[in-house]
């Protein structure tokens, strides 16, 4: 059902299919890579395969939370984008964390290439 084999009790109960617009770090013009979770990005790293969040994608409801992440080397090729999450993509957390973080667990059937994203130009 989900893109990667989720561990036990994952996703948690407080998730649902919904339409919501959130921000994420993406690789411009590359949906396939932009929407890979940690387990897919690091397929040989077994230690986190059984962790629920590692099988999900991180989003925020505010741009400010993403700014420090842009400075990290591992995100050198990424930009902030507004992503339109639709109900058919998967299950997303119902409530954000304190910093506005959401997790989306993509369905196997999700059409990644059709996910709409709009790059955000930042004032330098």
């Amino acid at each position: 059902m989900f893109k990667t084999e989720l561990p036990h009790n994952c996703p948690p109960r407080d998730v649902s299919e919904r339409g919501i617009s959130l921000f994420r770090l993406v690789i411009p013009s590359n949906n396939a890579e932009s929407f890979k979770n940690h387990v897919e990005l690091f397929p040989d790293r077994n230690d986190l395969k059984n962790h629920c969040k590692a099988n999900g994608l991180s989003f925020f409801d505010n741009i400010e939370a993403l700014l420090p992440l842009l400075e990290k080397d591992i995100n050198y090729d990424k930009k902030i984008a507004r992503v339109t999450i639709t109900e058919d993509l998967g299950k997303v957390s119902n409530t954000p964390t304190k910093s506005g973080h959401y997790t989306l667990w993509l369905y196997k059937s999700a059409d990644i290439e059709k996910i709409e994203m709009e790059l955000i130009e930042l004032d330098v």
């Binding site: 561990p7 036990h8 009790n9 948690p12 770090l25 979770n37 940690h38 990005l41 690091f42 040989d44 790293r45 077994n46 230690d47 986190l48 059984n50 962790h51 629920c52 969040k53 590692a54 994608l57 991180s58 420090p68 992440l69 990290k72 080397d73 591992i74 050198y76 964390t97 304190k98 910093s99 973080h101």
Partner: protein
């Protein structure tokens, strides 16, 4: 960023042994700040310093349980924690893409506090669901060198106190499932010897819910393989199976079909008491598997088993003592006490045995025999309770 690696003394890559992820404090598609734990229960704070996907650099230092509690309560910031590391030495690690350590070096912690890599406003979100509770059983398994099976049964009825049904109707059948798994097709164990050779310890029994940890000896062979582990994995395949094909295939793997009867008892408890069962197994060679069953899933599995395996039949060789042989014309019956388990077998005598037994004499109570007993188990249904019918097929002398 200060080049910490330049100031390290290189150590073997596996210097700290296996480190398990314990808490993901800051995870945004990558573990930027985590708590790890080694096999001795020592916590470490691990922070990403830099590097791309192919080679990432992290700093690692020991953190006490007390300090970790303060950090999680956010009574101290990450920045301040890095400014005052508890240990004189910290570590710099480089991980390659597969997560293996490419470089491991020791660093004077003073350099961390002077060149603090954490900004003063850095915060993390900590949520309970980030806790990786599995780490505990994995580490305990290594420390105890045993296969550990965690069993956690939850039900509203268990909230205030432990109920007798939880022990009698659940824990005992569940322990029997483990036992049957080990005995099935075993060259090593017999019902007579298993309790002496396999340690069924329960080192954790909590009141309020039923939470128990069962221990089984690991006993790897020269190739590092443990038949005990393989046998219990077979059982987990049964518990994890929720689709018809998987259920039937996993049960077919057992020669002793009594396992189906015991499994149905466990399912019945879950259904009757609206319970949920979570089970986990960890082994000293870092293998881990888990499963969960709730009432709905248990009902589904039971329907499939009742539909496809309506009657569970089994023929057993029971070593024991004869208590009763009654050749009543209408209802010949027997009673046998097993010498390998605290159990009395009762039922009827097969007509062929009644005829063949003739004038044979048997010693009651004092002499052991081998009894061949057929068991027909019919699970509980909406029309009738569960039923077990035993038939004595033969009595044999035990050869010394």
């Amino acid at each position: 960023m200060f080049n910490f690696k330049e100031h390290t003394t290189q150590l073997p890559n596996n210097f700290l042994g296996k480190l398990h992820y314990h808490l993901l404090l800051d995870f945004v598609d990558y573990p930027f700040l985590v708590v790890q734990i080694d096999n001795f229960g020592q916590y470490y704070l691990n922070y990403y310093l830099g590097g791309s996907k192919s080679l990432t650099t992290h700093v690692l230092f020991k953190i006490s349980k007390e300090k970790l509690s303060i950090l999680l309560a956010q009574e101290i910031s990450v920045h301040d924690l890095f400014a005052m590391p508890e240990s004189d030495f910290s570590y710099i690690l480089e991980y390659n893409e597969s997560g293996s350590v490419e470089y491991f070096g020791m660093l004077n912690s003073a350099l961390i506090s002077i060149n603090n890599p954490i900004s003063s406003d850095y915060e993390f979100d900590f949520e309970e669901d980030q806790l990786i509770a599995d780490t505990d059983i994995k580490i305990k398994s290594i420390q105890r060198s045993k296969i550990l099976i965690d069993v956690y049964l939850q039900s509203k009825e268990l909230r205030a106190s432990l109920k007798y049904w939880a022990l009698k109707s659940f824990l005992i059948p569940f322990s029997e499932l483990i036992r049957f798994s080990l005995l099935d097709q075993s060259n090593e164990y017999t019902p007579h010897t298993i309790d002496q050779k396999v340690n069924f310890g329960m080192n954790n029994l909590q009141i309020g819910s039923l939470s128990a940890t069962l221990e089984v000896n690991y006993n790897p062979n020269l190739f590092g393989e443990s038949t005990n582990q393989e046998d219990i994995i077979k059982l987990f395949n049964v518990i994890k199976a929720t689709e018809q094909d998987d259920i039937l295939l996993s049960l077919e793997g057992f020669q002793n079909k009594k396992i189906i009867a015991e499994y149905l008892k466990v399912l019945n408890v879950i259904i009757k008491h609206d319970a949920s069962l979570n089970t986990k197994m960890a082994t000293p060679d870092n293998y881990f598997i888990e499963s969960s069953l709730d009432k709905t899933t248990a009902q589904k599995i039971k329907r499939i088993i009742n539909d496809k395996i309506p009657n569970v039949e089994d023929v057993e060789n029971v070593q024991g003592y004869l208590f009763e042989l009654n050749f009543d014309k209408n209802n010949p019956s027997f009673s046998v006490h097993s010498s390998t388990e605290e159990y009395k077998y009762k039922g009827r005598i097969d007509a062929n045995l009644v005829q063949s037994i003739g004038e044979k004499e048997f010693t009651f109570i004092d002499k052991e025999y081998l009894f061949i007993i057929h068991t027909l188990y019919t699970p509980e249904s909406s029309k009738s309770p569960e039923k077990t019918i035993r038939t004595l097929l033969d009595i044999k002398e035990i050869e010394n």
